[in-house]
Symmetry: C2
């Protein structure tokens, strides 16, 4: 195998596929990146058996072939090489891969491509097309609400429901729920699946380029694949029944409050300096007389007491929340103002965006002594 390619192209492709290189591989070959050169294209692959990524770049291939290099070393060296182009050549006798760029010359001990579990592209008629920025929001506004507890796999994934011209993503760790829906053009059909949040987070990092582009999604009952530009990512789906999250979303609210997002963020940020040190990271929100007052106590440190103007439409109310659950939502809300909707101190509340009615975030209040 021998080829010359642009260093930037190769470095970018290595970075993309390396998301699927396990840091603690079950099998040494999984620490590697598979490289195949033919027809003036170089294909890279990496997989941890759960997720697989393929990335293709153009190259001047003078000798077709394939090989596997340890991902970490390959990535670091290519990133730092001095030249605009890179020459990569496998010496079959020495079992060494030469990488040359300007005056730099690295030799890497190589693994046989025969041992690599080549990624099989998902073959399914079930598919949809979605713009990268739409998928970016669907992922970014829901995955943060997933659970990290591997013991209950269903909650470590995002539920995706396709119903004719609508896609809904929902995620919950049972204490809070994030739901985002979007209109899909040119789609008919009905499907439900649970996608690993780890996969979605990696995909989100690769989305959003300068040029808007279409992402092709294919799926069957246990696998899903995403394809855009020169990149293909596939993963198993999570097995199980996602709970009926609609039941958690109240039909109506007695009180709706409008807050300035930046002011609210700053207050929550300071409150958390005290609340994060108490047992349940709890703060109490009191909506009354055009103000939101937020307090949090820690018997060992002291107390925080903050206030900000609030446009209150409905009854006054006192309610307590885990501050992290509020802070998480504020990380993804970039509108100037936001809504909080409430019924009473013991019922779930909603945080919504002023500019996008298709997003809903539900948080369960914390029952505090005396209420």
């Amino acid at each position: 195998m021998k080829f010359i390619c642009q260093r930037n192209d190769l470095s970018q492709a290595i970075q993309t596929v390396s998301k699927a290189v396990s840091s603690k591989p079950q099998n040494p070959i999984l620490s590697g990146i598979y490289i195949k050169a033919e027809n003036n294209m170089v294909e890279l692959q990496a997989t941890d058996y759960e997720m697989g990524i393929i990335c293709k770049i153009e190259a001047e291939v003078t000798e077709p072939g394939n090989i596997v290099l340890v991902g970490r070393h390959f990535q670091e060296v290519v990133r730092k090489l001095p030249g605009v182009t890179i020459e990569l050549e496998y010496d079959r006798e020495e079992k060494i891969t030469h990488i040359r760029s300007n005056r730099s010359h690295f030799k890497f001990i190589s693994m046989s491509a025969d041992d690599f579990p080549i990624i099989k592209k998902l073959n399914s008629n079930l598919n949809l097309q979605i713009m990268d920025n739409v998928l970016y929001d669907l992922i970014g506004r829901t995955t943060f609400a997933c659970s990290n507890e591997e013991a209950r796999p269903v909650f470590t994934g995002c539920f995706m429901e396709l119903r004719d011209s609508t896609v809904v993503m929902a995620a919950t760790d049972t204490k809070r729920l994030a739901v985002q829906s979007k209109v899909l053009e040119n789609f008919t059909g009905q499907s439900k699946m649970i996608i690993p949040s780890k996969l979605l987070n990696e995909i989100q990092k690769l989305l959003l380029s300068d040029m808007p582009r279409m992402v092709n999604i294919r799926y069957n009952s246990n696998q899903i694949s995403f394809e855009f530009d020169n990149t293909y990512i596939s993963s198993r789906l999570i097995d199980g029944q996602f709970p009926d999250y609609h039941r958690v979303v109240p039909n109506s609210f007695a009180t709706r409050i409008k807050l300035n997002t930046e002011e609210f963020k700053a207050v929550i940020d300071r409150i958390s300096l005290i609340s994060r040190t108490n047992d349940y990271n709890v703060a109490t929100l009191e909506f009354a007389n055009g103000m939101l007052r937020i307090t949090s106590d820690n018997p060992e440190i002291g107390n925080a007491d903050e206030a900000l103007p609030a446009e209150i439409d409905g009854d006054n109310i006192i309610i307590s929340f885990n501050v992290d659950y509020i802070a998480d939502a504020l990380k993804i809300i970039h509108d100037k103002e936001l809504y909080i909707s409430l019924n009473n101190s013991l019922s779930p509340a909603a945080i919504r965006m002023v500019e996008d009615e298709e997003f809903t975030y539900i948080i369960t209040p914390v029952r505090t002594p005396g209420r």
Copy 2:
């Protein structure tokens, strides 16, 4: 106690003294910052018994007094408060300190100032004045060569020698040595001392403001203090005999090489991708025919082979070094070119700056098989 001050002033002062707040205090009071208000000044103090820092700011003091607050919480809250000014008030009955800024109100459980080990300012006639940028270079170009091994305390400090109009700082971990000398104006006398490198690193971070300023240093046989602007820092000196480092610096060199600093840095950076994974982080440098060729091997990964132009004045030479020892020097050399001076494969080498002859860095070569 009650005062109003600028939030930025207080935040800056807390950040300065917090360098002396131990993360694992021997005694709970040492996790605190001592605050004293009187005569329209607020003084903050922190100490870990080894190092002590005092910082003063202007304030509108309406009730003099003193108190101790837990450093970490005090620092985080003041940094994030919304207002331009801050009001701090100690309520003696509740033993609570109120901190108010705009609509924010924090209450902190407080410790008694009577329990705090007040820092005594060092009283000594032995003193010198030095410009902050001169001290900055003396510290920055030597401390990196200190040892971290607490078992041999002498090598964890920087040796400072004052001799009439010269100050010399020297640091070594026995495998490499960094020496920087500077001319001192208005100083006569002779002194030698070993200053903890941890102290010097903290001081260096506080130096270099927009306006050049004088640092006043006082010392006796076991303590040293640094005073500049509103800041006073004192520390014990390290007890012991610093080795005669002059013996390590060769009187002459057979070969002197001039290299482009940026090119050399880039090559060393890439070489270390391979060398850092071998047992002694070793690379071999071969100076010949107007080129420096650097190679490093790792039997489990592969090999790196780099080259860059070198202006060689003297004999050709092959020599091996610990790559980290070279990389450390390159972090502090900002001149366009640098010198490497050598005698033979087994003798210490020197790295020098083209622009500053008062800096010398000596590294011991690594003996490799076959040489």
